[in-house]
């Protein structure tokens, strides 16, 4: 049997999950008892699962908030004959009162969860408008630079004092020549799997969020910052933050931005990455405004044709 490839497997699992969700929703609608059980078990689960257990699964949380916001006055009666009758009498006796109270609580909960959803929708709209929402599953990752870019970066930074950090290092293409030239260099990339080949070959590559790594750097900590890959998914405001933080992190050092030009993107990439990524010229403008000496250095890579080199000294 031929082994299915990773993409096939993901598509397959997504299809199975979609079938399960659809069938589960049908069952919930068809069976009020199942709905009640689901609420009971979810309440029990919430007791053992602390806040934060859902991590980043915000949509799931909203879904649960929706379902749990309706308080049910029909308490289960159990199955033991005597107890069942007793519970039934109590339930009947207090039903009018509980109903009166829960109607008000339910109305309030309903408004609150609608409000939460509305906020969520508004935040999503803002994210869409600012092009910061996650479309990672739709677009291809930014390709790594080729060896020619790496050699150019290495020649720019060959005699540089201080440690070099390569943000968005991927497998370490930009790190390798610097490392081989004896420069103290490490790379950071959010993709822990992507860095594996480089780590295996002895490079100092760290899994982490490049922007956070830069933000956490001490003033003057690095001799040079090289930013690649992730910068092509930044909007103008985030790019400006990178400029400011990179300048602070290098003191009198150098910042190199390796980015493709959004104008060169194909139609799909252009539309899905709308609002993300700045041209080398715009990066140069942002650094130039800070008083840095900016050079645009040509490379032989057809995608990363121009490197932005900002010298702060």
């Amino acid at each position: 049997m031929t082994q299915p490839n990773a993409t096939d497997s993901q598509a397959y699992i997504n299809r199975v999950r979609a079938e399960i969700e659809a069938e589960a929703e049908t069952r919930r609608r068809r069976d009020p008892e199942l709905q009640r059980q689901e609420r009971e078990i979810e309440r029990a689960w919430i007791e053992v699962a602390p806040p934060g257990a859902a991590g980043s699964q915000g949509e799931l949380l909203l879904d649960r908030a929706d379902r749990l916001s309706m308080i049910d006055v029909d308490a289960p009666l159990g199955t033991k004959p005597g107890i069942r009758q007793l519970k039934g009498s109590i339930r009947k006796g207090v039903y009018w009162y509980l109903r009166y109270v829960t109607d008000q609580v339910n109305a309030l909960n309903n408004v609150l969860t609608r409000l939460l959803r509305r906020f969520d929708e508004r935040i999503s709209s803002l994210e869409d408008a600012a092009a910061v929402a996650d479309v990672g599953g739709l677009v291809d990752p930014v390709p790594e630079p080729d060896g020619a870019v790496a050699d150019t970066v290495a020649s720019i930074l060959a005699d540089h004092a201080g440690r070099v950090v390569v943000l968005g290092c991927g497998s370490g293409v930009l790190v390798r020549p610097l490392h081989d030239a004896g420069v103290a260099v490490h790379g950071v990339d959010v993709d822990a799997l992507a860095i594996l080949p480089g780590v295996r070959s002895g490079l100092d590559l760290r899994a982490g969020e490049p922007a956070s790594h830069l933000a956490a750097a001490r003033a003057g900590e690095f001799g040079a910052v090289v930013a690649a890959g992730f910068v092509e998914d930044l909007g103008p405001a985030a790019a400006q933050r990178v400029v400011e933080q990179a300048i602070a992190a290098v003191g009198n050092g150098t910042v190199v931005i390796a980015t493709g030009d959004p104008a060169d993107r194909d139609v799909i990439d252009r539309e899905l990455r709308v609002g993300r990524g700045l041209s080398p010229a715009t990066w140069a403008y942002l650094f130039g405004r800070t008083g840095a000496t900016v050079d645009l250095v040509e490379t032989a890579d057809p995608r990363l044709r121009t490197l932005v080199v900002a010298r702060l000294a």
Binding site: E42, W45, V48, P50, D204, A207
Partner: protein, 390 residues
């Protein structure tokens, strides 16, 4: 590079059950075989609830690992639950109260902390983050430290002592990307440190004979789903039993086996059988014999049993609220997850009746675990990190 590594862990031994402790041992014995000098500094305890001294204090060599066990000064405070309820009520907690909670939780062992301070070479690897040996030990260490936090979203992670713990560590090992995200969001200072998403080595190190396991454990020929781990409410076992009971009631058939030490016995439920602890030689056979492994735990930083089941080709059904386990399923396409009752039932039904689905998931899971968690793959990543720290 100095190839010496000292694990610091609350308990240690072949008969100690617990993800972190098994994780430490799993690294220790493998690294010794690869030529590393490996030490372990631990307490004499076996029982995680009382920390009562069980092993002799002193140094022994076990499977090539030099193990130093230290006496516990006082057992776990019996009022810890009340203290926890007060501390984790959402109000601000002082650093003093937080250290007090750590000490009362135990294992409280000044000898152990002295032993950590006395280490003068290599790298110290505290494992996991939650206990006194790590919290106080990491601050007394005289050599670089590599913290295997094994953290997950739980109330103690918010205690103010852990900024110091994660800030002091020289390097970090994460069980999963989800754990790394949790750590970086809770402790931004950690972003600067050398770190790696490592997981644990997952290899079949005992017989894997489904037929033999069926015979030895008297499982019969009927298909079954299995849970393998501590039978404990905190692991979601009671929740699973309740879900499964309702599933079986609605479906009219189905069998769930609960294998592992019984900490908190779940209620008697039709279709659910408590096997209790399973001998190591039948663990993989049991997993291979099962149609599906279910892990209902909401708190896992890695979950060894999920990739173990995947490795023997058994699909998994996991609690989708637990991000590291969900990560395994999403990365491997080797399992399904649930977040409610209805989707639990639909997913389990599919897994039990659709053999082609099981085969497809089984193949995906097995490939994933072999490529990500073979010792060779894990060691390469781990040694690269240790080299940076040493």
């Amino acid at each position: 590079m100095n190839r010496t590594l000292t694990f610091v862990t609350p308990r240690y031994g072949a008969d100690v059950l617990g993800g972190a402790e098994q994780g430490a041992r799993s690294y220790a014995v493998r690294m010794v075989k690869d030529g590393w000098t490996v030490r372990v500094i631990t307490s004499c305890a076996l029982d995680i609830v009382t920390w009562e001294d069980h092993y002799e204090a002193g140094t022994t060599v076990e499977e090539g690992v030099e193990v130093t066990r230290c006496q516990v000064r006082q057992q776990r405070d019996t009022n810890l639950d009340a203290l926890s309820a007060r501390l984790f009520s959402g109000k601000p907690v002082s650093e003093g109260d937080a250290y007090d909670w750590i000490d009362r939780q135990g294992p409280d062992s000044p000898d152990l902390l002295d032993a950590v301070e006395a280490v003068s070479d290599g790298v110290i690897a505290p494992y996991p983050y939650l206990y006194q040996p790590t919290v106080r030990g990491i601050q007394r260490a005289k050599v670089p430290t590599c913290l295997h936090a094994a953290s997950h979203p739980e109330p103690p992670l918010s205690l103010p002592v852990f900024e110091t713990v994660f800030g002091t560590a020289d390097g970090l090992v994460h069980g999963s990307r989800a754990e790394q995200n949790l750590v970086l969001s809770r402790f931004p200072v950690a972003a600067e440190k050398p770190q790696v998403v490592l997981g644990l080595p997952i290899e079949i190190d005992a017989p894997c004979d489904a037929d033999e396991a069926r015979r030895a454990l008297s499982l019969g020929d009927e298909p079954f789903a299995v849970y393998l781990g501590r039978l404990d409410r905190g692991k979601g076992v009671h929740d699973l039993v309740e879900r499964f009971g309702r599933f079986r009631q609605r479906r009219g058939s189905g069998r769930l086996l609960l294998a592992g030490p019984v900490i908190d016995r779940p209620p008697e439920t039709v279709g659910v059988e408590v096997l209790g602890p399973v001998p190591a030689e039948h663990k993989y056979g049991l997993l291979a014999a099962a149609d599906v492994l279910i892990n209902p735990s909401p708190h896992e930083s890695f979950s060894m049993v999920v990739p173990e089941a995947m490795l023997v080709g058994t699909p998994v059904l996991i609690n989708g609220w637990c991000e590291p386990m969900r990560e395994h399923c999403e990365n491997s396409a080797g399992g399904l997850w649930y977040t409610g009752v209805a989707d639990f039932e639909v997913a389990l039904e599919k897994l039990l009746k659709d053999s082609s689905l099981r085969a497809r998931l089984g193949a995906g899971g097995s490939t994933y675990v072999q490529s990500m968690f073979s010792w060779d793959a894990v060691r390469t990543r781990y040694e690269a990190l240790l080299e940076r720290l040493a």
